[in-house]
């Protein structure tokens, strides 16, 4: 490691003839490789021309990252695509590189100097093409070694791509798996599994049969982060997510048919869920849940009574809750006593299609320690309801003001403000009753500047119970 910093050097000006040091080239190989590992393979190869020090550095990087998007019009992904005319334009001495050529070449040159003593730990491939995926199959198989730690594939092809089953036995050091595209997974029944795999992202992948998903999860004894986006194409789907080590779950179902979902993840801290119907979800013990951002599909003709109680009850320990439309509609069916106490809830964000004051009031009564409230009415139809809402609000605050507002609320953010009477009424009452309020933020996208000035004036005139409260208008 070369000696480099005995004196502090000024940022350089190329014109100056003073001592101008090339600090980057003096870094040891391992650090330079670490830097290069944050680049795509193409960008790393470009550094080979910087100076003789750099010529073979890119071959030391244990990562290959190919993106077929990076290679422009001249390099087509299909060799047969070249029309005869186009062929003539190319001098016979000049090599014509296709994406497949490039990947093979890089791999070969990389191995040349080291005889496989520098295995690939991270393989990322983004491939979008109509041509035969035989190359992709070869590359994926080559990448699957006991040294592989991270695999990230995006494959876009008209036909489904069969993911090599050798993967489930060979890739023993895997830490991160990301698969996106029409990739068919078919783990063999006795697979070695992944003793270190912590993060799995599956987007639009296909499972060979009904057991595949469970088999896959059972191969991952230390799984912590699961990101799933699934198209439900068949009937009778039942997804069981039983993972005792799971901390983060991000689930999106895009479905044509119903799908049952069971979540049994007692260590779960973060839950994001879209696309299930409330009758089809079974939330197990979520006592460690810190943050939930959940919505469900809602059918207005059904009565959700008990279901909603169970569902919302499972979320009762959270610190932060994001309620999006449909779930809030479902909450109409719950009376205040149906709702659990949200003792830990400090941050609540409500984004709704129509304002359900009862729901809001019930929630506020059940969340005594609420410190942050975000009220998002961007999509609300208020025109016909202004008077009605205004009188509801007045009576709300006339009676039992929820404890959280008077003794805990510190931040209130009103998004989608339109300047209507009921909105001003609401803000006014919050300001009058929230003794510990520090920040009141009102943001509106759709008001013109005249309107904004009028509203701002009114807002600033409202008396504030909390003397340290700041009002911001965005």
């Amino acid at each position: 490691m070369a000696e480099s910093t005995s004196k502090r050097l000024k940022p350089t000006d190329p014109e100056e003839a003073t001592v101008v040091e090339d600090r980057i080239s003096n870094l040891p190989d391992s650090l330079l490789c670490h830097i290069l590992s944050f680049l795509t393979t193409k960008e790393a190869v470009v550094t080979s021309i910087l100076s003789s020090r750099w010529t073979t550095l890119w071959t030391l990087v244990p990562k290959l990252d190919f993106d077929s998007n990076e290679f422009g019009e001249i390099f087509s992904s299909d060799e047969e695509e070249q029309s005869p005319n186009h062929q003539d334009q190319w001098n016979t001495n000049r090599y014509h590189f296709t994406f497949a050529h490039i990947v093979s070449r890089v791999w070969a040159l990389r191995d040349r100097s080291r005889n496989n003593a520098n295995p690939i730990k991270h393989f990322r491939l983004y491939w979008r093409s109509d041509s035969d995926p035989i190359h992709v199959d070869t590359w994926v198989r080559t990448a699957i070694t006991p040294d592989l730690e991270e695999l990230d594939l995006f494959i876009s092809h008209p036909k489904p791509f069969n993911f090599p089953s050798t993967f489930f036995n060979y890739a023993k050091s895997l830490l991160v798996l990301k698969l996106n595209g029409k990739i068919v997974l078919n783990p063999p029944s006795s697979s070695f599994g992944f003793p270190s795999l912590k993060t799995v992202h599956l987007v639009n992948v296909r499972f060979a049969n009904g057991n595949t998903f469970s088999k896959l999860l059972s191969c991952c004894p230390v799984l912590q982060n699961l990101y799933l986006q699934i198209y439900i194409r068949d009937r009778d789907n039942y997804f069981k997510i039983i993972v005792p080590t799971l901390k983060t779950l991000h689930l999106v179902f895009l479905r044509f048919w119903d799908c049952k979902l069971e979540i049994n993840a007692p260590a779960l801290e973060y839950l994001y869920c879209r696309g299930c119907s409330i009758e089809d979800i079974l939330l197990g013990n979520l006592s460690n849940l810190l943050e939930a951002d959940v919505t469900v599909d809602h059918d207005a003709s059904k009565d959700y009574g008990k279901k909603i109680r169970d569902f919302i009850g499972a979320l009762s320990n959270v610190k932060s809750l994001q309620l999006v439309s449909n779930l809030t509609e479902c909450l109409c069916y719950a009376t205040e006593t149906d709702l659990p106490m949200f003792h830990n809830l400090t941050c609540l964000s409500i984004h709704i299609g129509c304002i359900l004051w009862d729901v809001l009031l019930n929630l506020l009564h059940r969340a005594p320690n609420l410190a942050v409230l975000v009220f998002n009415t961007e999509n609300v139809e208020w025109y016909n309801f202004d008077e009605e809402y205004t009188s509801i609000i007045v009576s709300m605050f006339y009676g039992d003001v929820p404890m959280c507002i008077s003794s805990h609320l510190q931040t209130f953010h009103f998004k989608g403000f339109k300047g209507s009477t009921y909105e001003l009424e609401f803000v006014e009452h919050i300001l009058k009753t929230a003794r510990f309020l520090k920040t009141m933020t009102v943001s509106s996208a759709r008001m013109n500047s005249e309107e904004k000035v009028r509203v701002l004036k009114e807002l600033l005139m409202f008396p504030r119970e909390s003397r340290t409260c700041q009002v911001a208008f965005l």
């Binding site: 480099s4 940022p11 190329p14 090339d22 600090r23 590992s37 021309i49």
Partner: protein, 238 residues
């Protein structure tokens, strides 16, 4: 206030820092020393100056206190803090890389290396050399040979502003156009050279002309230069 265990660190230039043990343990190196009971007195860190050590400690403090909550909000906040933190001049950046490596603070090492990588991204070799003062020690033949070995990686995009059509062309061909050659040699270019006065179809013709020209390898190609390439050369000449 309950007594929090503290550790004393001493920089290469004699500055003393008293740091909470949990913060200091963000450094795997220091963690090892503590666990081996070698940390009773001040831990000497001969490879890190006081200025850099104070920055490292700042980083560790911020990242220890945020490690409890894994929420998306606090992650965003932390990222914003990191972006601000790493906005330092190049020399400090390299000092931080060395320190993070020596002290084995993974998060800081990744942050600093990613920052350098972002500087290298999408730049031409000439631009990278200029930025880091790298001396090109190749002979022209050697450079050509390296270029040939990895030809696929060296290309430039010529982009038309109106139609956003990007044409990727090998540098040797693009240099046929004197204007572009000048731009390249003056390090004018980002990796995409905008050509304001030229539409896509004309640009296509010009590129084909260049190809033919390069392949023919003769010099009296004036007639084969279409009017279009004159269009490029003239208006763009400063």
């Amino acid at each position: 206030m309950s007594s929090v265990k503290k550790v004393t660190l001493k920089s290469s230039d004699g500055e003393i820092f008293e740091v909470e043990e949990t913060v200091a343990m963000e450094s795997q190196t220091i963690k090892g020393l503590i666990e081996d009971d070698c940390a009773d007195n001040a831990i000497p860190l001969p490879n890190v100056t006081g200025h850099i050590l104070s920055l490292v400690i700042q980083y560790c403090k911020e990242h220890t206190s945020s490690s409890d909550s894994n929420s998306s909000k606090s992650n965003e906040k932390l990222k914003a803090w990191d972006t601000q933190f790493i906005n330092v001049d190049l020399n400090v950046l390299f000092d931080l890389i060395m320190a993070a490596n020596y002290l084995n603070v993974k998060g800081l090492l990744d942050l600093t290396c990613q920052t350098v990588a972002d500087m290298i991204k999408e730049k031409t070799p000439e631009q990278i050399r200029a930025m880091f003062n790298i001396v090109n020690d190749f002979t022209p033949e050697e450079e050509e040979e390296v270029r040939r070995e990895n030809a696929w990686a060296f290309e430039i995009s010529l982009k038309n502003n109106n139609v956003v059509d990007t044409f990727e062309v090998e540098e040797s061909m693009a240099k046929e156009l004197q204007t572009i050659k000048n731009m390249i040699e003056d390090n004018y270019t980002d990796s995409v050279i905008p050509l304001h006065n030229v539409t896509s179809d004309i640009l296509e013709l010009v590129i084909e002309d260049c190809k033919k020209h390069v392949e023919a390898a003769e010099s009296e190609s004036e007639p084969s230069y279409s009017l279009a390439s004159k269009l490029i050369d003239d208006p763009l000449k400063a």
